[in-house]
């Protein structure tokens, strides 16, 4: 459209008849340009110093210069705030206290928010919160590009208003027909939600609430309810325990909702010559078993009989002939008395009853029946009843919240059939998963970081959930929907606030303060009393359980858990702490069984692990699964992780493994009707650790026993914490004291050290994910992991012993004689024992003060900082990989490809949504660059700057790094050794302290604490 606007060109135009304006109308210039005159003046032209050639040169140059200036890199625009929000300062992180609740994990957390984006989860230490790997990784699920972004009705998008209208109409219809409405949720532990479900009942009449946990603890709940009258789980304070006997309870992982590692680790650090003694009876090699002092492998059926024997010995006082291991356990329990505890993971009400009875008989202080935990509430019987009712056509409507029964139910088919007979089926879900595609209405819910909510994780511990970001998509919370459907106008936020003010806070704390703290702890009164239960009948019923040739134990991995977060690449890539395999689930099998069946694990030319396939039949359900031969797996037992094999709502790369829920019949983790047979084919595993044993290298992981440790007559440096010596001028000198270089004065400023206590480290891997999140560590996928190209800056090495324990390995090696003998010993040491001793060792860059990597870099891209860190200047790195070759710890990671914004690596760094999780303080590395742990330099610098701004010295123990922050067991302690009050200063001087490979002379700034094992034979 042509514009009629007139523009002023000069003031002259004000005059009505200005000659200049007139002239300009016709000519470009007021005065004529004397071109002709100029060209005609041949003389001047010829005398001019500018020749035609010069002129062309100038033209050429200007053209070239102009076109060069026009070339520039693609511009990515950042958009500044038009009006800056008051509470957001670019570059400064805000922390919000909230609670992670997804039905499987519950944690009081702090959320780090940068420029309005939540980017990291940290434990809320003021609320005694602790985080595991999944909680740490949950922030990435917020930015999952495959989230359900809007409500759907029968597969097509619908507006919320329309959905509400249709659903409410249906609900009213059902109300008139008095047809039952079922609300199926997982454990939400939320009093407000419960209230709202009740309100739904008030509005629509016949409403039932069924709680369904994909991985059930129903047996433990039933047992506790029977004995103590409340449907909840007791708390165990393992710090108080002197003796822990666990029968198939993986309590350092997800047993009864997890979180026991904190107390456990405290009891495992030798204090005043004491530490707890831990006996584990189990079939799979679990994280817990790997940490035990005494691990007895047995099939699930044998575990049951062991529990019975302990029950008879402790509760009944019978003294029958017992197997050695059980006798030892019983004696230990008796000796420790009230300081002992028995835990069991057998999903059988009777077994759980017996465990409670034993603890009662022991008068155990460890178990706290009054501090009840609400993090598992599922009721198997009700779920089974629901499915039966649905199929019988008795159910009018089903409203599912945050559960994926179509994937997690062993009898999912029946459930789907049942759904078709229900008049109204609604699923509130964050993911476009199996259930979302099976129901009529799939309603998109926000992530917990976008939601309001509350939870009572433990009795009296009221936690709040607050959003840390505006909802990214057209989502609405389940609770908000319930409010709308019950005709209420209030928002869920107002609803919680109101109900907290009137019911929870009691005026002791303001709402704002509670929200700030994330938790409100209410004094609880009232104790529960045990009622008399006929435990003998339970024992009798239990003794009738029949074992079989093969028994399968289903478990959850510390990475993927129940499988909700299967689309989370951090968790997929996190190596299993035991097998060190990622991106897979598999059958674990003992070596003896593998040999019998002809199952093999082999390494191909590039070292990668391949395994045979077996066909496993459980109660008639068949599945072909790959096998990893697992040291410590009880003969006749098999292990398989739940949570894998999901297909819907997942990127193709994340559709890993096979669904083990199909075997989870009757919600039993132990399945007895199992047959296995070898089938053809080889599976390609992605395993990050290919050598499983320590090869008798006792100086890598130093170990001792409690007795030796307590023996004050021994000099640690001479005995159990030997320092390597070298010959200097024909004298034996401690290797750590020999120096080629003049060292600079390190007493000025900060000098960072990180201490890792091998006694407290359980190998859980929370630090691995925390490091991922903090440092923008790329995910490389199964193919790359398989060829040993994992990018983890921090890894947790797991070693098995070849002999019964690691000391045996060293002894075997030292006793070998001759070249042939040595060769044979070394090749035999490559194989782990049948039931090995296990040790975990987190390894990251050791920040050597004499770093081998620094001397070899031709461009000085890696050099030492004054604060002790070994720096990497990514911009300077040309990628010769010499540093990585020369690193004795092999902690340097090379960018083999361009990992961000590469379709070949379609994980979170390849889409705009996923990239929102990136930490703006840490550079994204390009391909061809070496990277490694920086000791979270961005964090230490931020701490220093904060102190500087506030005009104070850095406080004691103020320095933190991502891994030490995430470590709930306190195994990792970071600090400044130039500050004598810092905890780490004490630790580096501890008699347990040693450096990894100190004989190489690298003088690392990471220090390990010798592992002390409490080997006791009663």
């Amino acid at each position: 459209m042509a514009s009629n606007k007139k523009y002023w060109k000069s003031v002259e135009e004000l005059k009505e008849t200005s000659p200049i304006v007139d002239t300009l109308k016709h000519n470009e210039f007021v005065d004529e340009i004397p071109t002709d005159e100029f060209l005609a003046d041949k003389e001047t032209l010829e005398t001019s110093s500018t020749t035609r050639r010069d002129f062309l040169k100038y033209v050429g140059f200007t053209t070239a210069a102009a076109s060069l200036a026009a070339c520039e890199g693609p511009v990515v625009k950042t958009i500044p705030y038009v009006i800056k929000p008051d509470d957001i300062i670019p570059g400064v992180a805000d922390y919000y206290a909230t609670t992670m609740v997804d039905g499987f994990d519950f944690a009081n957390i702090l959320v780090k928010v940068r420029e309005g984006r939540p980017i990291k989860i940290e434990p809320n230490k003021e609320a005694n919160g602790s985080t595991n790997a999944r909680v740490q990784a949950s922030v990435l699920s917020l930015y999952d590009s495959l989230r359900l972004k809007a409500p759907k009705a029968n597969g097509s998008e619908i507006s919320w208003e329309e959905a509400d209208k249709q659903i409410v109409a249906k609900l009213n219809e059902l109300k008139e027909a008095n047809s039952p409405i079922v609300v199926l949720t997982n454990t939400c532990a939320s009093p407000s939600t419960k209230k709202l479900i009740n309100k739904l009942g008030d509005t629509y009449g016949n409403v039932q609430h069924v709680i369904y946990d994909a991985v059930s603890e129903s047996a433990a709940l039933d047992a506790f309810e029977t004995m103590y009258g409340t449907r909840a789980l007791p708390d165990y304070n393992l710090e108080k325990a002197a003796v822990i006997v666990s029968i198939g309870a993986d309590f350092l992982a997800d047993w009864q909702g997890g979180g026991f590692d904190v107390g456990y680790a405290k009891g495992r650090i030798p204090k005043n010559g004491k530490m707890s003694h831990h006996i584990q009876f189990e079939s799979n090699m679990t994280l817990t078993g790997a940490n035990a002092d005494k691990r007895v492998m047995m099939k699930p059926s044998a575990q049951i009989s062991t529990l019975l024997k302990i029950y008879q010995a402790i509760v009944k006082g019978e003294s029958t002939e017992l197997p050695e291991a059980v006798k030892n356990a019983v004696n230990q329990l008796k000796k420790a008395g009230s300081k002992a505890v028995v835990l069991t993971g057998i999903q059988d009400k009777n077994a759980q009853l017996l465990a409670l009875a034993i603890n009662k008989a022991l008068n155990s202080e460890v178990i706290d029946v009054n501090a009840m935990r609400n993090i598992r509430h599922g009721n198997d019987a009700k779920v089974s009843q629901l499915i039966a009712d649905m199929n019988a056509g008795k159910i009018g409507a089903i409203i599912i919240n945050n559960a994926n029964p179509v994937y997690t139910l062993p009898n999912a088919k029946e459930f789907v059939e049942g759904l078709s007979k229900v008049k109204l089926s609604v699923a509130f879900t964050m993911q476009d998963n199996e259930t979302a595609n099976a129901v009529q209405f799939a309603l998109a819910t926000p992530h917990y970081l976008e939601s309001w909510g509350d939870a009572v994780i433990k009795k009296g511990h009221y936690s709040l959930i607050q959003p840390t970001i505006q909802p990214l998509f057209k989502t609405r919370q389940f609770q908000d929907a319930l409010l709308v459907w019950t005709g209420s106008n209030t928002s869920y936020y107002d609803f919680i606030k109101e109900s907290w003010k009137s019911n929870v806070l009691d005026g002791n704390k303001s709402w704002n303060q509670a929200l700030h703290d994330g938790i409100y702890v209410k004094e609880t009164t009232g104790t529960v009393e045990a009622v008399d239960v006929d435990t003998d009948a339970a024992a009798k019923a239990l003794s009738e359980v029949k074992g079989s040739d093969f028994e399968l134990t289903l478990y959850t991995k510390v990475s993927l858990g129940d499988g909700q977060m299967a689309n989370n690449p951090w968790l997929q890539e996190m190596p299993d702490p035991i097998t060190r395999a990622s991106w897979d689930n598999y059958i674990t099998m003992s070596k003896a069984d593998a040999e019998k069946l002809g199952v093999v694990n082999i390494h191909v030319a590039n070292g990668a692990l391949n395994g045979s396939y077996v066909e496993v039949t459980v109660n008639g359900v068949k599945e072909v699964l790959p096998v990893i031969i697992q040291p410590g797996q009880a003969k006749g037992s098999l292990g398989l992780a739940l949570g894998y094999g999901r297909k819907q709502g997942l990127k193709e790369e994340m559709q890993t493994g096979k669904n083990a829920y199909q075997f989870y019949k009757n919600f039993q983790n132990n399945q007895f009707d199992v047959t296995v047979k070898l089938v053809s084919g080889e599976h390609e595993f992605a395993c990050v650790q290919l050598q499983n044993t320590l090869m008798g290298r006792g100086d890598i992981v130093k170990e001792t026993t409690l007795d030796t440790f307590n023996n004050t007559a021994l000099d640690p440096k001479e005995t159990w914490n030997k320092v390597a010596v070298v010959s200097l001028d024909h004298k034996e000198v401690e290797a750590t004291k020999v120096d080629l270089w003049d060292s600079f004065d390190r007493s000025i400023g900060h000098h960072f050290n990180l201490s890792i206590d091998l006694n407290a480290c359980t190998g859980c891997g929370a630090c691995v994910i925390a490091c991922h999140a903090e440092n923008n560590v790329p995910v490389v996928g199964k193919r790359e992991i398989r060829v040993s190209r994992d990018m983890h800056w921090l890894r947790i090495d797991r070693y098995y012993s070849h002999e019964e324990d690691f000391a045996g390995d060293v002894e075997l090696k030292e006793n070998s004689s001759g070249v042939i003998g040595y060769k044979e010993t070394m090749s035999s040491l490559e194989d782990p024992s049948e039931n090995p001793s296990v040790v975990f060792q987190p390894v990251m860059c050791q920040h050597c003060n004499h770093a081998p990597c620094e001397t070899v870099c031709p461009v000085a891209a890696t050099s030492h900082g004054r604060q002790g860190q070994n720096h990497m200047a990514y911009n300077r790195c040309v990628g010769t990989r010499y540093c990585a070759n020369n690193c004795p710890y092999k902690v340097r990671r090379f960018n083999w490809f361009n990992y961000p914004e590469n379709d070949e690596f379609d994980y979170y760094m390849n889409d705009d949504l996923g990239k929102m999780v990136l930490n703006p303080d840490v550079t994204i590395r390009s391909r061809g660059v070496m990277e490694k742990c920086s000791l979270c330099m961005q964090m230490t610098q931020a701490t220093i700057l904060k102190a500087k701004k506030e005009g104070r010295p850095v406080n004691t123990d103020e320095f933190e790094v991502a891994c030490s922050n995430a470590c709930s067991t306190g195994a990792m302690v970071f600090g400044d050794v130039n500050n004598e009050n810092d905890t780490v200063t004490e630790l580096v001087k501890d008699k347990r302290a040693y450096h990894l490979l100190e004989h190489v002379g690298t003088k690392p700034n990471v220090v390990y604490q010798v592992k002390v094992r409490n080997i006791q034979e009663a």
């Binding site: 590039n606 650790q689 290919l690 290298r697 890598i700 060829v787 390894v843 010499y882 061809g928 490979l997």
Partner: protein
Amino acid sequence: MSSHYEAPIRRPLIIGDKSYHDITVDVAAPVEGKANKLWWTAFTIALLAFLWGLGAIIYTIGTGIGVWGLNKTVGWAWDITNFVWWVGIGHAGTLISAVLLLFRQKWRMGINRSAEAMTIFSVVQAGLFPVIHMGRVWNAHFVLPLPNQFGTLWTNFNSPLLWDVFAISTYLSVSLVFWWTGLLPDFAMLRDRAIKPFQKKIYSLLSFGWTGRAKDWQRFEEVSLVLAGLATPLVLSVHTIVSFDFATSVIPGWHTTIFPPYFVAGAVFSGFAMVNTLLIIMRKVSNLEAYITEQHIELMNIVIMITGSIVGCAYITELFIAWYSGVEYEQYAFLNRATGPYWWAYLLMMSCNVFSPQFMWSKKLRTSITFSFIISIVVNIGMWFERFVIIVTSLHRDYLPSSWTMFSPTFVDIGIYVGTIGFFFVLFLLYARTFPVIAQAEVKSILKSSGEKFKQLRDGNHE
């Protein structure tokens, strides 16, 4: 007749009844004549291999080092193996032309031109690898101590990799100058014989205006001697520095003080083998049997035998020291090298490098052209595996067993290696068709013409 006592003279280095003109004609023949089918076939194969390698290099640079078989534990494998292998091969040329010149070994004259050409071409191949093995080739200039505006940003002179940069570039430039100096009179000869104006123009450019005055010759001799003096320490220093890449590290199996002499011996060993490989073919194809005689081959074989034995001693010393040191990591590194998953590579190395040259003790075998050719190939295979064994078997199982893994090459690794062989032969074949492959000016100085002629006249062997 019998009154004249004739001393038992050395065997003639040029056989056949050659006159000065014959030499000129023989040397100029491949340049002036037309290439035969064999040459074209060989050239096509070499060119294809080169192009394949070029494609593999472009693919690597475009996609990332990840297309190779390396991993977090084994950060170098075929790349640096090839680098050291090619550098090693490059050692023979300078040794022959410089060291033997100083020692007045006249037999070098028949072979030094091609040996030096081989040196330069193989150093070109070698130089490729440190460049393309970088993750960010486009920043390769960072390794040069260039003045910059970043304050104290400078290269790290502690790094052996930087020493490599200097060692290789010095070696390449000195070798090139030395070679070219020798070429001047020969280029002038080709220039003078050239008929086509284009050829004449090119050769006159290449011969830097050589006129053949006495002054030219005098300077020529002086420069040759000076350059020989300069190049001789380089023969020792280059591979010493290359060995520092490993010797100065902390990795068991690399951290070894024996490396410098061991590497130099190995380099001469493989270089002579490669010279044998090339010359045995060339003397046949270019009809140069009169100049590169059985005697040359035999002398080369003796050097191969000696250096092979030195290398063998080094291998055994390494094993001994590992045992004697009492250091467990050292002991395991060598145990693993010999009996671990790469035992076959170690066995190949041992049999090719230590055992196969021992056949040369037999006069019959070392004067057999076919056998020499076979052994020369075997030695080069062995020496490639030596470097592979040192690099990969030391890295793949070092200190922490948790990081142990294996290495297996991808098609790109293989492609680049084959590509450099192709590139090498492309250069060598072009050289054989355009350069005077025998230092004819020098060779003419050892032609016993007058004496021989007189004898013929005296004995009445008229033609």
